[in-house]
């Protein structure tokens, strides 16, 4: 268990610097050598609306931003309103006393600071409010103000010395305000710095962008959609510097088409979107499978259906990613549980796409996209990069891949179904690709024998994937030979579950866990092995149907109890904990679906 574990939440109006204040705290933690996770959420509105940034700092690996907070810093009354139910005995509330006064809260430690007044009247610059607040936090909790200064400088370097010194002054103002007006009444203290680790801080979508660069992506087709747009924002300049290009397409149909075109021309390519865009891409997804064109599609899931809640979390596109599209194609679906994995699984998405010449879908989500984490700096030389098999005449002295002068792009004689691609410019590999069923030399054919064999060629590539590349995407945590409950999770819910499991185990509950990072294709034997180690299976998911549970039922035949939350916010560890406790108290339940109402009472949406 961690000796040190502190969560600071800042809330206020979008545009007031809530997010950058959280970013600066995150950097302070990383510079001081601590583990840090930061979860941000923006309002859907362009201006105004409630924004928050929750920063959790610990001396041990962190999986989530926890259940609530220790310190709440409210820039306005709205932030207080949204969070007041989490004010417990011993929590700290720092608030803008020029905006509101809180109600009576037993045992809550209050630090009123007239943030707006100080910004307006003393600083004569309302925009410095967030930095004044940071000064207050530095003064109260020993947060190293030098680190905040470093962050200010890095952030505003382009805006010039004047802006930097204005913000330094605001920081001092906050620190001095504490010294002159407040008396420390709480036990919270930022830990003293330890040896800083070699880390990077990335947001989820930034990690996807960096992973793509590492994988060798050179073409990115974009169509703006929340919450996927920032993948493009993050990648565009890196891509240009390494000789690639980001093209803003006219729609998502075009973006996947362009990515497929670029891939046909021999370049690793990708696109990123969210649910509505994935729907538009589905015809081309089918085409990529049919033509065996490597391509990576990132779906930063948001709350559906239709336009849903564009800035909000959900794990609702799993069915679409796994089964979506007309006809049947080979594909792989990956899903990271945290930011670090967003980076590495993006590289893996390209590797699988290249090796098997298939479309690969990477499923992340709105909350993961905005989560920032400090994690060990990836070292390029340790990262394996896979490239597609490109036809070279010198490697084919007997001309196996040629017949009657034609290149056999879709040759049927390789054991694993993988055949070399020809890249335009090579006179030896001239060929066509077509969405029509085709024979070995690409000519369209309707014959039942050819159809059968080409289907088998395409689909059987996944058999090889299952043999050679699936196991590393199953993270088993199985300390018990027979656990009371086995939890299977995916995506962001996986990292929340990790924390819940630590707590459950410390209460003596025997619990095994499986974190699935590869959602398709499925290694039946690995799932069965896990299931056999547990009395019952529990699958928490933030969707209505319990999509992973249903897929595992269909593909492996296992029964599980689903816990489904579909409110647009991720689960918190306590909810997963309560779900498992509920199962322990209801030993007869081994299949079915639970919602917050079953656990917390009618009309519940959970305990956030």
């Amino acid at each position: 268990m961690a000796r040190f574990d502190l969560t600071i939440k800042i809330g206020g109006e979008g545009g007031e610097g809530v997010i950058s204040a959280g970013d600066f705290l995150t950097e302070a933690a990383a510079r001081s050598g601590y583990e840090v996770v930061n979860f941000k959420s923006f309002p859907a509105e362009i201006k105004g609306g409630y924004a928050q940034s929750t920063v959790r700092i610990s001396d041990e690996k962190l999986y989530s931003t926890g259940d609530a907070f220790d310190i709440l810093c409210c820039f306005n009354g709205e932030a207080y309103f949204f969070n007041k139910k989490h004010l417990r005995e011993g929590t700290v509330l720092v608030y803008d006393s020029s905006d509101f006064e809180p109600e009576e809260h037993k045992g809550v430690i209050l630090y009123p600071v007239p943030l707006s007044e100080l910004a307006k009247d003393v600083m004569k610059a309302y925009i410095t409010k967030n930095v004044i607040a940071l000064g207050v936090l530095c003064g109260l909790f020993d947060i190293p103000s030098q680190s905040i200064r470093d962050s200010i400088k890095a952030r505003f370097v382009r805006k010039g010395e004047e802006v930097i010194s204005l913000n330094y002054k605001a920081l001092e103002l906050g620190i001095n305000y504490v010294r002159e007006n407040l008396k420390k009444a709480d036990p919270y203290k930022f830990p003293s710095p330890r040896q800083p680790k070699d880390v990077v801080i990335m947001e989820g979508n930034q990690a996807v962008a960096k992973g793509a660069i590492v994988a060798g992506c050179k073409f990115y087709a974009a169509y703006p959609i929340t919450p996927a747009t920032t993948v493009g924002n993050y990648i565009v300049e890196d891509l240009i510097k390494v000789g690639g290009w980001l093209y803003q397409a006219e729609d998502e149909i075009a973006s996947l088409g362009m990515a497929i075109g670029a891939s046909f021309a021999g370049v690793k390519s990708m696109t990123a979107t969210s649910g509505p865009g994935l729907s538009l891409m589905t015809e081309f997804l089918s085409y990529a499978g049919m033509t065996e064109t490597p391509v990576v599609i990132v779906d930063v899931q948001r709350t559906g259906p239709a336009t849903g809640m564009p800035t909000k979390h959900e794990q609702g596109d799993l069915f679409h990613a796994v089964y979506g599209g007309h006809g049947e194609i080979p594909r792989a679906v990956l899903a990271p549980i945290n930011v670090e994995e967003s980076f590495y699984l993006t590289v893996e998405a390209f590797n699988l796409a290249e090796k098997y010449q298939i479309p690969v879908i990477l499923l992340t989500d709105a909350s993961l996209s905005l989560r920032a984490e400090a994690f060990p700096t990836p070292k390029i030389e340790n990262i394996r990069i896979e490239n597609r098999w490109i036809y070279r005449k010198e490697e084919d002295p007997e001309g196996r891949f040629k017949k009657a002068g034609r290149f056999l792009r879709f040759a049927l004689f390789t054991e694993d179904g993988i055949t070399p691609v020809g890249i335009p410019g090579d006179p030896e590999a001239i060929h066509a690709i077509t969405g029509l069923e085709h024979q070995e030399n690409s000519d369209p054919r309707n014959r039942p024998d050819i159809r059968t064999w080409q289907m088998e060629k395409r689909m059987n590539k996944l058999e090889k994937l299952l043999r050679e590349d699936a196991e590393r995407f199953y993270e088993f945590d199985m300390p018990y030979s027979k656990a009371d409950v086995g939890v299977i999770t995916w995506g962001l819910t996986g990292s929340v579950t990790k924390e819940a499991i630590e707590r459950l185990r410390s209460k003596g509950i025997k619990i095994n866990a499986l974190y699935m990072k590869l959602l398709w294709p499925i290694r039946k034997d690995l799932i069965e092995g896990f299931v056999n180690s547990c009395e019952r299976i529990a699958i928490p998911e933030t969707n209505w149907s319990g999509q992973l549970a249903k897929i595992l039922k269909a593909e492996v035949g296992i029964d599980a109890v689903s816990f489904c939350i579909y409110r647009g916010e991720p689960m918190i560890p306590k909810e997963v904990e309560d779900f498992i406790d509920y199962l322990i108290n209801n030993p007869e339940m081994s299949a079915g679906r639970l919602t917050p109402s079953d656990i917390y009472g009618e009309k519940s949406y959970g305990i956030i």
Partner: protein, 296 residues
């Protein structure tokens, strides 16, 4: 290329599946002639198409071919061109493919002056799906879904592409092989987005816009003195003087309506790249390390 390839050398060994008398035959004959005249190595040509009778064309030719989805040839062609600007990229499409389902892509590839050549085989009908009206069908045309005779005014492809900013816009006719080959050559040679509308009759389903109808009706606008540099006049010609879409008795214009000089997208892309890499190209590790929390 030491020896110039003959037009036949650009033909694949697949026999076209088109109906006898289909205009599309002439199109690939003229296109392969243009390839031959230009001395293009087949391995550097990529023919991209959508779905339709016309969109089968790439499969009948010896070059890299991408037979995509209905209406989606242009995006795929754009991706190919940007990934490798050295390639000669063509789109071989139909009036339905390009101006109905795929119409949303045209303005963007055109205005951005992507250096591809789009050849639309315009038979004013949906051939492959067996006789439905297309966006270029004239009013009154009987299609299987408009047994009463179409009540839709047609779209004018030349005017549309001129308005979208296509830097090369021409029309030619499948019954005039020489003119077709000449126009294709000019279109491919043009640096920038080129659009060629080919009046390519479908004798099976369109009983109005036939070879017989076009015979002696086409007028070469360039021979008549039209200067392709004159954009205003090109619009005028497309919209009024020679608009046979609205006036069936008007002569049918063929020739180059417009040819303008404008920097291509890939040239502009290259300039941006140069700007970004002027002070050196970072290593991938450096791009990762940029995410470390910097101490100042």
């Amino acid at each position: 290329m030491d020896i110039k390839l003959k037009p036949a050398d650009y033909r694949s060994d697949i026999e076209p599946t088109w109906c006898p008398g289909c205009g599309h035959f002439g199109v690939i004959a003229a296109l392969t002639k243009a390839f031959s005249e230009l001395g293009l190595p087949p391995e550097n040509i990529v023919s991209v198409s959508g779905i339709g009778c016309s969109s089968r064309a790439p499969l009948f030719m010896k070059n890299y071919s991408v037979h995509t989805l209905h209406g989606r040839a242009i995006p795929v062609a754009v991706g190919i061109k940007l990934a490798n600007p050295e390639l000669t990229v063509l789109v071989e499409t139909g009036d339905g493919d390009m101006f109905s389902i795929g119409a949303g892509h045209n303005p963007h590839a055109a205005r951005r002056n992507i250096d591809i050549t789009v050849i639309c085989m315009d038979n004013q009908i949906y051939g492959l799906t067996k006789n439905q009206i297309s966006p270029t069908s004239r009013e009154g045309l009987y299609g299987s879904l408009t047994p009463y005779g179409s009540i839709d005014p047609p779209l004018n492809p030349i005017a549309t592409m001129l308005a979208y900013g296509s830097t090369f816009v021409a029309q030619t006719y499948a019954g005039n092989p020489k003119h077709m080959a000449y126009i294709f050559e000019e279109a491919i040679r043009h640096k920038g987005f080129s659009f060629v509308n080919v009046l390519s009759p479908c004798p099976t389903f369109n009983k109005v816009d036939t070879f017989k109808y076009y015979k002696n009706k086409t007028k070469d606008i360039n021979e008549m003195g039209h200067d392709p540099a004159d954009y205003e006049k090109a619009l005028e010609l497309a919209f009024h003087d020679l608009d046979h879409y609205y006036n069936p008795d008007a002569p049918v214009p063929i020739g180059i309506f417009y040819k303008g000089i404008k920097e291509t997208y890939d040239e502009r892309m290259r300039r941006v790249r140069e700007r970004y890499t002027a002070s050196g190209i970072p290593t991938v590790q450096e791009l990762i390390d940029a995410c470390k929390p910097k101490a100042i």
